[in-house]
């Protein structure tokens, strides 16, 4: 298990591997008579998975000066994945809020003799392709967290740019963020077998 190194300073643009807090995922917008109902899920922490050079090129459009003449490299949205708290994740309760109430897989951590189970070892050693286990070197920045590659969504880039400094938590260092996106793309491109 490698510990994830982070940086607590943000650059002047969105970056791959950035961790942000309280990000909304809009489920639906429904109009009933004169009322509009916006249904959303608020994720406490998300990590940016979009390619970093795409983000770098797109950042040019949000500069004060020297903006590009066309919008060819401008992005509509960026991909993010929720970070689930390990403690809740192991109990299968990370989506068990009264408003969502998903029943998720339970992971047993210890077996008889105070040894770790193979299921848990595979999780923390990142041998289970569906999940990415993140143990942060600096425990005061983030508690151990898990990415479930089945869960990801897009966030509007202008929106995230506008509240970036307010919601920024930390930046996962390049080597580690590449490892995350490599495993994410591998999981996404797997052949669906019955």
């Amino acid at each position: 298990m490698n510990e994830i190194e982070t940086e607590s300073k943000t650059n002047d643009r969105l970056e791959q591997g950035d961790v942000y807090s309280n990000i909304d995922y809009i489920e639906s917008i429904e109009t009933i008579e004169n009322d509009i109902f916006i249904k959303k899920i608020v994720f406490p922490y998300v990590v940016v998975l979009s390619q970093d050079c795409d983000l770098e090129q797109a950042s040019a459009y949000y500069r004060e000066t020297e903006k590009p003449d066309d919008q060819d490299k401008k992005l509509l949205s960026i991909i993010v994945a929720p970070l689930y708290n390990e403690e809740m994740f192991l109990k299968g309760e990370h989506l068990a809020d009264a408003t969502i109430n998903y029943k998720m897989q339970i992971f047993t951590k210890m077996k008889k003799g105070n040894n770790l189970t193979t299921q848990y070892k595979n999780l923390i050693d990142n041998k289970n392709p569906r999940y990415y286990y993140l143990s942060f070197k600096d425990k005061t920045i983030m508690p151990p967290s898990i990415i479930d590659f089945k869960h990801f969504f897009c966030v509007d880039i202008s929106y995230l740019n506008s509240c970036r400094k307010e919601k920024f938590i930390c930046k996962i260092k390049a080597l580690y963020r590449e490892s995350i996106t490599q495993r994410y793309s591998h999981f996404l491109s797997r052949i669906g077998l019955p």
Binding site: M1, S8, K9, T10, S21, E27, T31, E33, N34, D35, I36, F37, I38, K39, K40, I41, V42, F43, P44, P82, Y84, N85, E86, E87, M88, L90, E93, H94, L95, A96, D97, A98, T99, I100, K109, G113, N114, L116, Y120, I124, S135, K139, T140, I141, M142, P143, P144, K165, E166, K167, F168, I169
Partner: protein, 76 residues
């Protein structure tokens, strides 16, 4: 003088202790960090930064939740 604590080795000597006693370093696998129960967690204050949020309540264990916002449609 503090009371000495006698370790209980009834279930075998942990590998790290065995390494210390024999003087031969044994490479042990790093154990996962201890999970702190949610109700024992306290808010942590991070250092001030000009560019980032000055205070982050990182250990506020919260999970995703669904929210519904109601707005009134304006007919023009």
């Amino acid at each position: 003088m503090p009371k000495s604590v006698i370790p209980d080795y009834s279930e075998g000597i942990p590998s790290s202790t065995a390494a210390t006693q024999s003087g031969v370093p044994i490479k042990t696998e790093a154990m996962p960090p201890e999970i702190i129960p949610a109700d024992e967690l306290v808010p942590q204050k991070l250092g001030d930064s000009e560019e980032t949020k000055t205070e982050v309540n990182i250990y506020k264990i919260n999970r995703p939740y669904r929210d519904i916002i109601k707005a009134i449609k304006k007919n023009e």
